[in-house]
Structures are given as structure tokens and as C-alpha cells.
Amino acid sequence: MKTLLSILLILTSLSLGQSRSSTTATNNKQLIYEEQIKSAGIINLSNIILLSDRINFSTIDGNQNYISVNQMSSFFRQGFSLFIDGQKFENNIFDMNDINLLPISIEQIDSVEIIYSPQLYYGTFADKGIIHFHTKSPEKGFSVNASYIVANETGDPGPYQFTDYSTPNVDKLNFINTATLMSAGENWSLKGNFKLEENFVTDPAIRKRITTLSSGSNKSHLKSGSFQLMFNLLNKPQQIFVGYSTQNTFFHFKPYGNEIPVNRIVSHTGFSGGFDLSNKIELNYSLIMSKNDLGESVNNKDLKFDFGLNNYYGNIEGVYNSSLLNWSVGLTYNEYIGKSTTELTSAQMLFTEFYSSLNYLITENFNQSFGFMLKKLNNDVSLKAEFGSNWQLNYRQNLEFNFAFANSMFEEDLNFWSWVMRGYRSNIVELINFYEVGKKENSNKFSIDLTYNYIYNDFKFEAGSSFRTDSDIYSDEQLFQYDKNNSSLYSPVRLNYNTRASYLSLNAGVEFLLFERFKNKIFYNFSRVLNSTNGSSNYSEVQPLHNISYSIMFKPVDSFGIWARVRYISSTVWTEYKYIDIQSAEKYSYKIDPKLLLDLSIEKWFWNKKIWTNLLFRNIANNVERYHPIGTSLDLRFVFQLHLYFNSLFE
């Protein structure tokens, strides 16, 4: 380790680095544009993962998703990084990272960048993947955008509710209202957004479990607002972003086994930007304060987390740019304060980070990048590094290679257990019976990604493979027992410190135009756990082996389009729930059958692109669509969207 550190420091002293804007030589990412989002009838931020070729996800309530951006199991932590316009957002708490809590709305999005390889990105070493939302820049003058979205699931009883054929009512799934006010001048822009989302938990699979604790309605309610000011100062853009989200929801807390009503509060105040010190050297900064609370919501057992996290983040980065290389050096102050009425032995986790990266051209067609980060907490230090190569074989073909290593401390993902070990207690913690196995050590994660691209006019082919191997990661292993009387689950937790797992993912995709304006895309993804030990074997089959999708987008004119997609997702097995079939009299099953899903979306613009409407049918064939053993079974759903875009009203 010492030798490796010495080499890294020598490399740094030799002026190797990379700029904030071009973070790595490799490009293992997917860009999703507004046109695709609209064509596919995406209704909210978390829904965007449905357009990702490689994200695996599972969901219990159909709205909050457990996702894996770096192509591992969705159960190996929700620590993926979230960004909006270059600022990092902290939504993750106790392993739930709800994207919908971001204080922006769907009609604001210009593009979404999903990065699958571990890498240094905006001063963060993101080893679990990155989702970066880029919002639209307002047009000059004053603009008003708004949306009204309603989603409904089929299967209501209708008039049969008065007969012997009566079945439980299935309410509408989502109701979303958003409004954005914008203004822009020569060197500045201003955006204000308000979002209201309601999600209804009515599926029989979870309704009873939720009403066991919830004394109120079965409705999850999200309100968010944000304010964004961008201006140019000394020829560089500066940004102030203030956002606030509050959500009454049902928080599925796996160690407890069930959903607990909570009142989530997430706030963000960020300043970021940069200055040119010379024509080759720039200085970037980012100052962020955020609050992430698991607040109390009234419930029948008076269960409350009594926990929140405050984050104070400061980053400064110097970048040297030349025609052959760019080099960056940065320093980050990242302080988390745990808030609880119980006395914590240490409420503060202060991470200081030093990083440097270099992106350099070896030949005109071949460039490489190298970056590392040293992260310090108290007396512990961890090291993360990445190395990437990008070879433009000719004007049609491109080959990329990325290697990353991440040594991480147990506390780095701010997990529930590290706070429990610091004295955090609540009446929920008291209900959890856990025991530790093994020795707590820093985890080591290696990953290799290889990507090949071929582009010829409107034809695009890509193929790639990812290999990940982790050692000494922690896993909370459970074996759930089901109580039929109140539909609840219980399991002690075996906290394994020395879990190992290796994953392999292979993918290939092709995009082409069949006729003019008739886009086709076929993508295949294969993911497999190669080996797993000490607790991770429970998760070895929770990720589908095969995932195939074929989508078409037909736009005969600019103002009208049809999008359709058929997806096949292979079966999964959830060993932690292996007794649930018998104990629930087959209401649930720990084996989830393969899914064949067909979606159809129709969009139409009116009034010179001032009004946009969309009609979406998901799971048209009404097949069983279930992602989690104790989760909802999604039937045929239909969604109506109306968006208004009144731009440049008063110039």
C-alpha cells in the first residue's frame, strides 16, 4: 500500500490531472435526452431509470426504487451519486436514495447523464455510479412551464363492488403537478420550481402491511420547491441552488422488515462556480449545506427514527488546461453531523479528501486518464484510484478501458449500523435484533470496464463488459418470517463484515433507422454473480440474468410521435424470503417469474410546441409485473400528461 501511495504522490508531483469538465478518458455512460424522455412518457425523475440500458432495479411500492447504477446487485447499497447541474445532492439515508426527492421536475430536464463506471467526478469518487440531471437553460425574457400528470392502474371493482364479485379498490397511482417560472437576461438566468407528487399505495400485496402501522391514508405525498440563479462573473458561470423537499411516505426499512411512515425532509443550499486565474489555469469551487431528515409521521405503534443528517461540504479545485493534457488537484471538506435526541458518542463524521487527476493525449487518437483520491476520517485513510484509456481506432470505431480501485471505510456510506455503533438508539432500533460476524475492515473494490462503439451514419453498435469484485464489504443478512395476522415480516440481522462478491456483466446494443424517422433500438444485458461468500449468497440471484429490450420511436412529423417498447426480464430468486410462500399461503413468492412487458406511448404537440400531451400505456398485455417478493404487482397502467411551455413571454 505504501509503495502504491508513493507512486501516486510522485505522479501528482509530476503534474498529472484532469479538469472538472472532462473527468475521464473513458465514456462508459448513457445520455438520455428530453426527446427520449417525452417520447417514452416518463412521468417523474425516478422513472428515468426505465430508459437506462443497464440499470437494474427492484421496487416494493412501485415508486421508490432500489437501483444499481454500477451494474451490481441493487442490494449492494444505494450509494450512487446524484447531481443537478454540477452540484451534488444528498438524498441517501439508511440505504434509501429516492431520486424523486430532488427538487426539480420532469419538464425542466434537458438531459440525464448516467455513468456506469467508477470514477472521479466533480470532486467525488463515485464507485457506485452517477446520475446527473441537466436542466434546461431558460430562454430570454420570462417563461412559465407547468405539467399535470395522472397515472392510473387498472383493476378497480367498478360496479362489481356492490356484488359478490367485489374486490379491493385500486386508486390512481400517481398525481403530479409542477410549475416552473424562469427568466433570463444577457448574463444571468433564474429558475423557480414547485412540484407536488402523490402516490397511492393500494396494491393488495402491501396495503395491509402498511395499514398495520399507518393510521392515516395510504397516500405518499411529496412537495418540493427550488430556486436556481446562474450568472456569469469574470467570464465564468456561477450558480446558487436552493432546494427543499418534504415527503410523507412509507419508508421500507429492511433491518426492521416493513414500511414505517416517515416525514422525509431534504434541503439543499449550494454555491458553485469557477474563475480563470490565467488562460490555462482555472479555479473551481463548490459550497453545499444540506439536511436529510427521517422525521416522524404519526403511526399506530409510535415508531420513529429520530434521526437526521446535516452535511457541510466544501470543495476547491485547481485545473490546468493545455492542448495535450488537463490536470486537476482538489481538496474537499465533507462533514456530516448525525442528529438524534439519543446521545451519540460522536455525532460528527468529518471526511477530508485530497484528489488529483490527469487526462492526457498520447497520440491524436489515444488518450488516457488517471485519478486518485485520499479520504481521511479521524485517523483512518482510504485510497481510491481510476485509470482509463480511450482509443479512437478510426473515425467509426472506438475502444475504451477503465480500471478502478476503491478502498473504503465502513462509515463512508453513512450506513445505519455505523450510527448504531456510535450510540444511536430509537424505538425502531430497539426492535432490531442484530449480531456481528467477522472483523470490521476497510473494503476493497476492483472494477474493470471495457466498451466498444461503432458508429456509421444512423447505425450505432455498442458492446461492453464490466467485472466487479468486492472484498470485506458488509452485508446485512436476514431470513424473514411472515406473520399472516398483520402481514408483517421479521428477521434478526446477521451483520457480516467480510463479505466477498464478484459480478460480471456483458451487454450489447444496436440502434438504427429502419425508414426515415423510424428509430429502432435493441439492447441486451447479461449480469451474473460469479461467486459470493459470507452473506452475499442471499443476493446472488436477486438480479435478473437476462434483460432484453426492443424499442421503436416513430415521428412522422415533429409534433407527433409514437414510442413502443417490449422488454424481457428474466426470473429472480430472493433467498432471504424463502419461507414466505408457505407462511403467507402463497400470497407472496420468493421466486419472481420472468416478465414480458409491452409499453406504448403516444405524444402530440399543439400550438407551435406550447402544449405537449402524452398518453402512455404500460404493461399493455396486463402480464404479472413484480420486482420484489413482498412488493406490488403492477398491472396495466395508463398515464395522461399535459405540459405547458410558454417561453419568452416578455422579452
Binding site: 392510473n152 387498472t154 367498478g158 360496479p159 356484488t163 364479485y165 374486490t167
Partner: protein
């Protein structure tokens, strides 16, 4: 059978578009308004509990980039035979299809439709929230139109609609009505483009 009907439908669309060249009609250039009365032909489980026969439909249609697009509201009242409450179905739907001119005065239309059906229950015992329930409806229809002159016509229609309640309600109806066609103004066409 479903697949054969689907294939026949798309063959028909293809005929209309390519052989007869009727797709030269400018999109959104005319609007046809129809008022129809419907008669339910098909029996359902709910017939043992409620009786219904006649309904009303308002419908408007205009040329689209391919075929015709339409917007309709179908109202069907159901009267209870037991102590259950009476209810009405208000079905708002969008339709798309294609028409073929058989002669100067007769045309044949075939289309598909999708919409939201609202079940409105007449019961003071139910809460305001419980009195209205909505559900997806999907269906298909075919229609003969006989034109008395260039604007005015009579039509006969057969429509099949499936409401996606947990136990699905399937409804086969015969409809008859009048239709009136007129040209749209420029602002109207601009709005839709």
C-alpha cells in the same frame, strides 16, 4: 381471432393510405361532429344486477397525419334491479382509424379507441370520493356513413368496448346518428400543428 382482426385493420389502413391516396387530405382541415344514440347488444354479468339499453354519444373527428383522429363521450345509464345504487358510465375516449370512400355518398370507417370511463354511483350512503370511480377503456368500432350532401350525413355503427375493471365489463353496442362536417379555420389548424 384478435390477431387476424389486427392484421385486417392494418391492411385496411394501408389500403386507404396507399391505394386510394386519401391521405392527401390536409390534416386538421375539416371537423365532423356526430350525435348518436347507442343500444347495448351484449349481455354481461352486471345485467343480472342492473339493466341498461340505450345511451348517447357525442363525437368529433378530423383528418390526422394518417387516417382520422377523434374525441368522444359516451354516456350509458344503468338502472338497478336490486338494492344496489344506479350508476352511469361516462366514457371519454380518443379514437384513431381510417375511412374508405365506397361511393360519392357512402364511406366506411374502422378504428380503435382508448379512454377513461367514469362510473358515477347514485347513492347517498357513499362518500363523495366513493361515488366516482374511473377506469381504462379500450375498444374498436366500424361505421357506415351515408352523406345527404357534402356536409350532412347519417351513420350506423358497431362498437366494442372493454372496461378494465377487475372483472372486465365488455360492451357491444349498435349506434345510429347524424353527422355534420365543416372546414376548419387557419388558427385551428395552426393550433393542432
Amino acid at each position: 381471432m384478435k390477431y387476424i382482426l389486427t392484421i385486417l385493420f392494418f391492411l385496411f389502413i394501408s389500403l386507404e393510405s396507399n391505394v386510394y391516396g386519401q391521405n392527401n387530405i390536409q390534416e386538421f382541415s375539416t371537423i365532423t361532429i356526430m350525435a348518436k344514440t347507442s343500444y347495448r347488444l351484449h349481455e354481461n354479468v352486471i345485467n343480472s344486477e342492473w339493466s341498461s339499453s340505450y345511451g348517447l354519444e357525442l363525437y368529433s373527428e378530423m383528418p390526422f397525419y394518417a387516417g382520422q383522429i377523434g374525441l368522444g363521450l359516451h354516456f350509458v345509464p344503468f338502472n338497478s334491479n336490486t338494492e344496489n345504487p344506479d350508476f352511469n358510465i361516462y366514457s371519454f375516449y380518443l379514437s384513431w382509424g381510417s375511412s374508405l370512400r365506397i361511393s360519392n355518398s357512402i364511406s366506411f370507417f374502422i378504428g380503435i379507441k382508448a379512454g377513461a370511463a367514469f362510473f358515477s354511483f347514485a347513492s347517498s350512503e357513499l362518500t363523495q370520493y366513493e361515488r366516482l370511480e374511473s377506469e381504462l377503456s379500450l375498444g374498436a368500432n366500424s361505421r357506415f356513413s351515408y352523406y345527404l350532401n357534402s356536409n350532412l350525413g347519417l351513420n350506423l355503427e358497431l362498437a366494442y368496448v372493454k372496461y378494465f375493471t377487475n372483472y372486465q365489463i365488455k360492451q357491444l353496442s349498435a349506434l345510429a346518428g347524424i353527422e355534420y362536417k365543416f372546414s376548419t379555420s387557419k388558427w385551428f389548424r395552426d393550433f393542432f400543428n
